[in-house]
């Protein structure tokens, strides 16, 4: 009697269109109220940052290392004017151009740093969490040791080791990115390992085990995808931390030379002496750029975090006046129930 019940009921449920299932778009549609405001603000800031980075050659009036145009020197520490909208630095560079080109360097570093750390961190986390034993213990100790180091100090050491004092664009960016990577791997490792250890105890992993699936198959088919749910969140939060580390390195003098690339931290460093002599434009704009980009990415990360947790997610309140179409079981939307179908079927016949 039960064979056909579900078919009777299975109103062909169209899958949600693909674009609404893309991670961030899905959350955007899901959010309401203040959470939506936060997410939208973060997305807008991040979008402006990414677009500026991509179109820097078109947007910037001058090159990042340009000191003159038409054989006429810009002049150092010029106040904002029609020729230089945001003025010039102590080194004689155009501030607006340096800020715009700086976005490109920042994006470059974020991408390299995260690509390097995410893959290694995730793979190590899954393997270590699932296999356990001495491998797990060694990796956890190593990661704890890296954690215990001050992030910036470690980044400085790494950048000295990697670049050996030289600093062209690729070398400088890679030095910064790899030094950030070293700091981030333990974060991804820890998060993924914790998830793996939790999922390892779930019944579906055991059921794969009793089927005789190999460890590799269990790790990468059954556990990996279930363990990566929190990644977008760490990803955005780490991106903002990557910018801060890069700016910190530049500020302390371990960054990229102005002739190789524009870098906000370096510009800030050079503008320290300006502040006391009333020259505000050399420090405010690179500083503002750092703050806005970090704010944007943190807002995206934090709202994704809130939306991922059903307890923190706000929903539109149920409208008491308009009754919804009848009661539903506490199953997922679209789920079917055994009994309902049977009774319906009997009523029909």
């Amino acid at each position: 009697m039960s064979i056909n019940t579900a078919e009777h009921r299975s109103v062909a449920r169209a899958k949600r269109p693909l674009w609404t299932r893309i991670p961030v778009v899905h959350q955007l549609r899901q959010s309401v109220g203040l959470q939506r405001g936060m997410l939208v603000a973060g997305l807008v800031l991040t979008a402006i940052f990414v677009l500026t980075a991509i179109f820097a050659p078109l947007l910037a009036p001058f090159g990042f290392s340009q000191l003159e145009s038409g054989n006429k020197n810009f002049g150092a520490q010029q106040a904002p004017s029609s020729a230089h909208l945001l003025g010039t630095t102590v080194g004689g560079y155009d501030v607006l151009s340096r800020v715009i080109w700086g976005a490109q360097t920042a994006l470059f570093v974020i991408v390299v740093a995260i690509v390097l750390s995410i893959f290694l961190g995730v793979v190590l986390g899954v393997v270590s969490g699932y296999l356990g034993g001495w491998l797990d213990r060694v990796l956890v100790v190593v990661c704890d040791a890296v954690y215990a180091f001050p992030t910036l100090l470690l980044a400085i050491v790494m950048s000295i080791v990697i670049s050996g004092g030289k600093s062209n664009l690729v070398g400088g960016v890679l030095a910064a990115a790899i030094s950030i990577t070293v700091v981030f791997i333990p974060q991804y490792f820890r998060v993924i390992r914790a998830e793996t250890v939790r999922i390892k105890a779930e019944a579906f992993v055991e059921s794969a085990k009793v089927l005789g699936a190999s460890s590799g198959r269990i790790m990468f088919r059954h556990i990996l995808r279930n363990a990566t749910r929190t990644l977008p969140l760490i990803f955005t939060l780490n991106a903002s931390e990557a910018i801060l580390t890069l700016a910190g390195l530049g500020f302390l003098g371990f960054g990229i030379e102005p002739t190789s690339a524009a870098e906000w931290g370096y510009d800030l460093n050079k503008s320290i002496s300006d502040v006391t002599s009333g020259i505000w434009w050399t420090s405010v704009f690179p500083g503002l750029a750092i703050v806005l980009v970090v704010l944007g990415m943190t807002l995206v990360g934090e709202s994704l975090n809130d939306l991922a947790d059903p307890r923190l997610r706000t929903r539109r309140r149920a409208a008491a006046a308009v009754p919804p179409p009848g009661p539903t079981l506490d199953l997922a939307p679209g789920a079917s129930s055994d009994i309902v179908g049977d009774l319906e079927l009997e009523r029909q016949s």
Partner: protein
């Protein structure tokens, strides 16, 4: 004790509607429910999961989450809980209405003594000195039957057993003499022998304190044992309300009839088992698939504590084509034995031979080829499927792992056959596990276990996470498939009635030891071991008159111990 005289109304619910805001739009959980309970009366609300029974009960205490909107009236005395202020709500909680939760181990705070937690309610509703509060806590613990109350009032929750913890929770509810107690599945997390004691205690609450009790349960045996009146809920509505004798004797609504028919009864399996035994006698002579001799399994202890022996000297056999039912309470070692046969737990002593392979000290590599001959069905169908794979991919997994198919798509034809064998439409293969109901998921789980046509199937409480009505169908299907495919099975359950339906032989475990083994008729009809006898007598039957007799029997049995 209650301020109300027997027969006065304790709570009146009129036209209650509760709507939840969810991601999938608004969901109406309770739809126009009207009920009333009088002092000294037990009203049972029964229904399957999702029928709105728990939501109704939580509304009485004003415990709905923020996403819910309630309309209608819930009258407690002169207060309408739906619309009163938070301050007034706090006043009446505890004094007018109290709650007993399902899981006693999570309802108690592990870092405070039980005395402190009972006194917490007193402190919230009046001035008590520390000594007065403690005296009151001791008095109430004594009343709910905790021995040495004066000393044990200073114990922490973990120092009590599960049944005693539930007594403490009931004591917390009783300490302020509420007119109404809402008990949400108060015995579901407890073993059947402990359940009988807690039901006795609740009955005493009613008789001695004249408390009104709203009992929420899905167990018809519990209803027959305790309730005076029953309300059957289905899809957010009360479909039938009647006193307990007429509901069981003469159910009116279609759904109620179906629900009652689905409840497994002791003794119903005996006839079937005899038929099967007669048939099997013809095929006797084959070597048994599983042989355990003096099986011992220990879990290592932590830091100097002795290791815990979960299974102690158990011997049994499972012959080809035979279903062995393993019954016991939680902690009796029944799941451990199932896991050991499936190669998930190492054995530490004795001998266990599975399909000819000695499991003591076996390497995973030696055992892996044999895994294709063993199917496993897990207790909770909700977690035993990878949530990111479709049902078809999950069912195809064993075929792919053992090289019978290249990938999930190549196995699809076989998967469709399997889904049909477990009476699921083919189209379900494209769904994700969360889109199926519990019963459907458990059937898909059966399909996966049978994909490789195993010689042995281990089913670990396959129906205990399901509603009664769904359970009946899954059991029926299990029996049908067993006839068709002819696999041997180890069927693990805490429910004697369920095991009785399926098993050819029943083995009873108690504290890691096998106390009794035999055919269903032997074990259930003429139990020899006192534990089996107590287990049988504790099992409430869905028939109020018969249950009253059994209760008396159990009391005598307890006196005899």
């Amino acid at each position: 004790m209650s301020t109300l005289a027997r027969g006065q109304q304790a709570v009146g619910i009129t036209d209650l509607t509760v709507t939840f805001a969810t991601d999938g739009g608004d969901v109406r959980a309770v739809d126009g429910v009207s009920l009333s309970v009088n002092a000294g009366e037990v009203l049972a609300i029964v229904g399957e999961s999702g029928s709105g029974k728990t939501v109704t009960a939580k509304t009485i205490l004003g415990l709905l989450p923020e996403t819910a909107t309630a309309s209608g009236a819930v009258l407690l005395g002169n207060d309408n809980v739906v619309s009163i202020s938070h301050a007034r709500l706090r006043e009446i909680r505890g004094t007018s209405v109290a709650m007993v939760f399902q899981e006693p181990s999570t309802a108690l705070n592990p870092v405070y003594t039980v005395g402190w937690q009972i006194a917490e309610g007193l402190r919230a509703h009046g001035d008590y000195t520390r000594a007065q509060a403690k005296a009151k806590a001791i008095e109430i613990l004594d009343k709910v039957g905790i021995p040495d109350a004066a000393e044990r009032v200073n114990y922490y929750p973990h120092q009590f057993s599960g049944g005693q913890k539930q007594r403490v929770v009931i004591a917390m509810a009783l300490v302020l003499d509420p007119e109404l107690i809402v008990a949400d599945e108060p015995t579901t997390a407890l073993d059947v022998t402990v359940q009988a004691e807690i039901l006795d205690l609740l009955r005493r609450c009613r008789d001695e304190f004249d408390t009104a009790i709203v009992l929420i349960t899905h167990n018809m045996g519990v209803v027959a044992d305790l309730a005076d009146r029953v309300a059957v809920m289905y899809q957010g509505e009360v479909v039938e309300e009647a006193d307990v004798t007429s509901l069981f004797g003469n159910p009116q609504h279609e759904y109620t009839k179906r629900l009652l028919a689905a409840v497994p009864c002791l003794g119903s399996g005996t006839v079937k088992t005899q038929e099967r035994a007669a048939k099997r006698a013809l095929t006797v002579g084959k070597a048994p698939l599983v042989v355990a001799t003096g099986l011992e399994i220990e879990y290592p202890g932590r830091f100097g504590r002795p290791s815990f022996r979960a299974v102690n000297g158990v011997s049994f056999e499972i012959g080809a084509n035979e279903v062995l039912g393993l019954v016991g309470e939680s902690g009796s070692g029944k799941t451990t034995i199932g896991r050991a046969i499936g190669g998930l737990t190492r054995i530490t002593g004795g001998s266990l031979s599975v399909l000819g392979q000695e499991m003591r000290g076996v390497k995973e590599r030696q055992f892996r080829p044999l895994r294709s001959d063993i199917g496993f069905v897990f207790q909770d169908p909700a977690t035993s499927f990878n949530p990111l794979l479709t049902i078809a991919e999950c069912v195809a997994e064993p075929l792919v792992v053992h090289g019978r198919a290249r990938d999930a798509r190549a196995a699809r034809a076989r998967v469709d056959e399997l889904l049909e064998a477990v009476q699921l439409p083919r189209a379900f293969g494209d769904r994700y596990p969360h889109e199926l109901s519990g019963g459907q998921r458990q059937r898909a789980s059966l399909a996966r276990a049978l994909a490789l046509q195993p010689k042995l199937l281990i089913a670990d409480e396959p129906t205990s996470a399901l509603d009664v009505s769904v359970q009946a169908r899954v059991l029926e299907l299990f029996a049908e498939l067993q006839r068709e495919f002819g696999f041997a099975a180890l069927f693990i359950s805490h429910d004697l009635a369920v095991v009785d339906i399926l098993a050819d032989r029943i083995a009873v475990l108690y504290h890691g030891e096998l106390v009794e083994e035999g055919t269903g008729a032997d074990v259930l009809g003429a139990p020899r071991h006192p534990y089996t006898r107590r287990l049988l007598a504790s099992l409430p039957v869905p028939n109020p008159a018969e249950q009253a007799l059994r209760r008396e029997e159990l009391r005598l049995l307890r006196l005899a111990d």
